[in-house]
Subunit: 137 residues, 3 copies
């Protein structure tokens, strides 16, 4: 069995943004030498997400409006009694999910034609990490 | 380590529908010869989902109404400026998630008594693929 | 390849509650002897979830209010024609997702500084199971 582990660090200019990371995952998968396996892509913070969808600017705008509608910023989250102001970012992370598992077949990411992997930052402007972990043969 | 990969293709009669695929996943798991491992079940399109829940027609109707309520069809999605009309289908895919990982124990899918695996079609009436990938020993 | 499988059983006093299980997952991972691998943590019932977030009482209260807002109890779910009353619990399970995959690196759960693993009970007061399955080398 082979494995490979790499960490990416994001420090986004925006409070919320969506970063395409398909090429990073492909690079780690290739370097691992794994022909048949899985690549886990998982945010290491509780106010970020990872998802697979379309690399089309319009749908990313729609997604951003949608997460704000379903898990809006509010002053009165219980979480804010700790001094934090990012209760909505935690809920957005749970809404979108914080990880995906990408199949590797014949040495390549086995994604559909429009599937791209994104890191979703819901509370940015500081350094945050993500793990890519490949396992297989 | 053993692995097996199979693709299912769906071309549903309905725009939205939910297809039970537990038996397909069990078949691929069995044919792989894996005794202890994981079966990844992952939609390869960005307007579809995969989930585990109850094979009870009522809850599937409730689920369908619920995804339409939380991620409704709208004319004015930014995504529609591309000529597409399926912005809601993308958001529904993110809401439900596009994949599950099924444990395999002693050569069988290790699911709870009511757990069934479903393919969720959110923009059907055309051919769409799903990958089942088994890894283990 | 090494593997380990363990089942936890929950019988919560509350209808809905959130149980921190990070230590259980760490214990199973350690006992497996796996140095590089994955730990799948997956609810075996269709009215429960598993998520990774902050072990902060305020955000858990916010989460509980949020799932009730987005997938509320209602009398009139189609599912209730079966005699059940937990349609909302099924939808909450799909909203939060029923599983996470935790990376294991150098023999330890490779989680970020605030990441904790939770079992989310959405229809408790009876015995319900969860599987922890570790795979790796």
């Amino acid at each position: 069995m082979k494995s490979a582990t790499e960490y990416l660090t994001f420090k986004t200019a925006e409070h919320r943004t969506y970063v395409r990371i398909t090429d990073d995952v492909a690079r780690v998968a290739k370097a691992s030498g794994v022909r048949e396996g899985f690549a886990l892509v998982s945010a290491m913070h509780i106010t970020a997400g990872v998802f697979v969808n379309d690399n089309e600017p319009g749908i990313l705008k729609d997604l951003d409006a949608w997460v704000e509608q379903l898990a809006p910023f509010r002053e009165d989250y219980h979480h804010h009694r700790t001094g934090e102001t990012n209760g909505d970012s935690h809920l957005k992370s749970i809404l979108v999910h914080h990880q995906v598992l990408v199949p590797i077949t014949a040495g390549k990411l086995d994604l559909g034609p429009w599937q791209e992997i994104f890191y979703a930052e819901f509370d940015g402007q500081r350094a945050k990490r993500l793990i890519i972990k490949v396992l297989g043969d």
